[in-house]
Subunit: 472 residues, 2 copies
């Protein structure tokens, strides 16, 4: 089936879908209640990755952190959250309390291990069956709203919202059409089945939450989303964890930022006076860690003396299409002749990650697409500037020339020039680091949670108004 | 992920699933009613192929005929049938009456064209949503039972049965584990996602309908099905269509069988006195049309004179993994030097197919796996013997040495020997043809429908008994 003809079929389908947007809702066991009010309890869906998984491994990335931190802050403002996720181990109880007011429900859908994310579409009926089984014991109206994350959960959310007669709020996190429009060399395009699935969810959702204005625009441009249904809510950062000094450490003296970085370098066994450009995240073509290595090679060509005072940590594990060549990056470092300055480190927990951010001179994010790039804000919150590709949400996360530098495209020379500015003027790390930390303060999870609650409330009142109109 | 470790994961999952078999059923909006009775209305699910499609094209094969003929005969015994199938054209109305008491409901799930069967798992939520949308207008208890066909529909049936609180009866038609255990050379194994999906359906179904005792045994051996839940119902043949003489034709005189064959050969422009071994069906490795061609080459080597009085029609179109090399068979015929005697013919309608059967000396079915092989019974009903591989349901469909010959394995020499017997003794065609026609009479669709209705009744009464026990 020639690619072009398939895309016509898909686009014809999109336009056909558009016409059903005003399809009447179904029964409303939850009943109606007048004034617009916050939901009491939300069913949150995260089919392919559990909030209890450690970010930076397998499919657990920014989305995990997003769901955990958001759910905790929603509970703090009296919105109970129950997170449904696929069981991937027999050692966890069916229900686990993650925090007061936040429950994780493990749903049995396929074997614990051995199922890649790409094989999960065939498990969505099993997952839906498990969600309905868990809900069956509750009274009608138990959930006021469904909030799904990523397209796999969106398909289940579509059925759950229909079954419970409640609104569906969906967050894509990543979009197939956006990824396919900016494919990294050697990366595999996302399948048509996902494009179709996402298109259906955009059409079925009462509200879509985008991390940035740019993502909101992509929803409208690529998926024909109704602009009035798209809300921009910047993800938050755990400011208690990501801060210049670890919580409770005694060096809490303003203006003493260097000791924060120096203390972290001491803890991690890193040289105090080195230039340390850090990569932290899942190792896959989309995140382009290879661009950092090539930029370092350019830097060392230009100034061989730098070799004795540069350390390039790569913290994270292969994932997605990166799994195909897990040792690809080590081989590249050897081919570029910089294996001596590059240090590979497996994924670390959140506390340890904060220390790596503190120790770094600069975080480097040369990604090809990044819906928001939570990691960029986390690094800045620890007082470390960021050099990032000007894609996706990164131009919102990083203020160019203030808390770091934005780079157009993915040419190693351009990243070498940005890194070179920190090599030539070490004080730039501290000056930009302080501005970065200030910028990060406006990205706390409390802000994100209350903005999300507003979206919920709007979705609920729209949904009720349509229900009243439908039932006359 | 090494294949062996994946299979352990899947088998661990199978045993884990087994323990949930007695999981209590959910709410019962349909209410209870005492004595065991036939269902009034059945929701039949056929996601990937429409009963309105012409068999022998795309994915439309024996299953289409099965569903159409069964539904018509169920309606004739006052069981209304509503068949849900995925919409694959905008030109058909959402609801089409196929026959009195048989409705076809077209469900919008993904683009009409461009989606291969392998991409449909990602559309099962969309399909389920459409089924619930269509049902939403009906009163509770509208459907008494769900009967799903093939694993894709089984997953949807699992959710629909849960939602409506009714029993699920499932017919696999083909099974991934059976196909993978007897893979034709060059054929691609079925994915783990399908094996897992089928395993879940076996566990969720109240009854499983198998076409033959052998298929029933495979359900128990490969999928750990509960033997008490497996019922054997032989598929039926449309005896009004598949008969020695077309309905209404005047040559209806017993003992005048040759004129039936002669008349058909005349209509099809085939030589009256030739040996005509026929292949009819989807051209894919699983059906092994290549074995027939190689057998013919062996025959012609042994007796070159036969070349002037043999015609080998291949009636059908490429499908499934056969699509990869649609012209593969033509090239093989040329390589074997028999292109002059082989005639390729696109798929034909049922009436025309009956004529091809009548005209043939013998139908050849060298399949690697065949859940039942409806085509074998249809050919015999027209008075034509069958040479078939002794796999799946074929040993039930063909009585070895009476209505044809069963061949162990897939060696061309073995099939050449069987065909050679018809070449050497032309009267064998008529003698075996008459016995074959008599054998076929016990496979009418009325028999299949009443047996199916009994399975429905048993499933309903079991389901009610469990519901009463559950609700005390």
């Amino acid at each position: 089936m020639p690619r072009s003809r398939r895309t016509d079929e898909v686009s014809q389908y999109v336009s056909r879908l558009g016409s059903t947007r005003t399809a009447a809702r179904l029964r409303f066991p939850g009943g109606f209640s007048g004034a617009s009010r916050k939901p009491r309890r939300v069913a949150m869906l995260s089919v392919h990755t559990s909030p209890l998984h450690q970010p930076g491994t397998g499919d657990a990335g920014g989305m995990n952190v997003y769901i955990v931190e958001l759910a905790k802050r929603l509970a703090a403002i009296n919105i109970e959250v129950e997170i449904f996720t696929r069981a991937t181990t027999g050692s966890l109880a069916p229900t686990v309390e993650l925090a007061p007011g936040v429950l994780v429900r493990h749903v049995d859908a396929g074997p614990y291990e051995g199922l890649a994310k790409e094989e999960l579409p065939a498990q969505l009926c099993a997952f839906t069956h498990g969600v309905m089984q868990a809900w069956a014991g509750q009274r009608p109206g138990y959930y006021d709203l469904v909030h799904s994350h990523y397209w796999l959960s969106g398909q289940v959310g579509w059925l759950a919202a229909q079954r419970w007669g409640v609104p569906l709020v969906h967050a894509m996190h990543t979009m197939a059409k956006v990824k396919n429009a900016a494919l990294a060399e050697g990366d595999t395009p996302e399948p048509a089945a996902r494009v179709i699935g996402e298109t259906q969810i955009v059409n079925a959702s009462d509200r879509l939450i985008a991390n940035t204005a740019e993502e909101a625009d992509e929803l409208v441009r690529f998926y024909d989303a109704d602009p009035a249904a798209v809300a921009v809510v910047h993800p938050g950062v755990n400011l208690d964890r990501f801060r210049p000094f670890p919580q409770g450490s005694d060096e809490l003296r303003p203006g003493n930022a260097p000791s924060g970085r120096a203390a972290a370098r001491a803890r991690l066994g890193l040289p105090q006076d080195a230039l340390i450009p850090l990569f932290a995240g899942r190792i896959q073509p989309l995140k382009a860690p290879d661009v950092l290595l090539r930029a370092v090679a350019v830097l060392l060509d230009r100034d061989p003396s730098l070799r004795s005072r540069i350390v390039v940590p790569v913290v994270g594990g292969p994932s997605g299409s990166g799994l195909a060549k897990p040792e690809g990056l080590q081989k590249l470092a050897a081919r570029l002749g910089i294996a001596d300055v590059v240090r590979f480190h497996p994924p670390v927990g959140q506390e340890r990650l904060a220390d790596w951010f503190r120790a770094a001179s600069v975080l480097v994010m040369p990604s090809y697409s990044e819906s928001f790039g939570l990691v960029a804000i986390e690094a800045q919150a620890t007082g470390t500037p960021v050099v990032a590709a000007a894609v996706g949400g990164l131009p919102v996360a990083v203020r160019d020339g203030v808390g770091g530098f934005l780079v157009q495209g993915h040419e190693p020379e351009a990243y070498a020039r940005a890194l070179g500015r920190f090599a030539d003027a070490p004080e730039l790390v501290e000056r930009m680091g302080a501005a970065a930390a200030a910028h990060a303060q406006s990205f706390g999870w409390d802000t994100a949670a209350s903005a999300t609650a507003d979206v919920y409330t709007a979705a609920l009142s729209d949904h009720r108004r349509r229900a009243r109109a439908h039932h006359g």
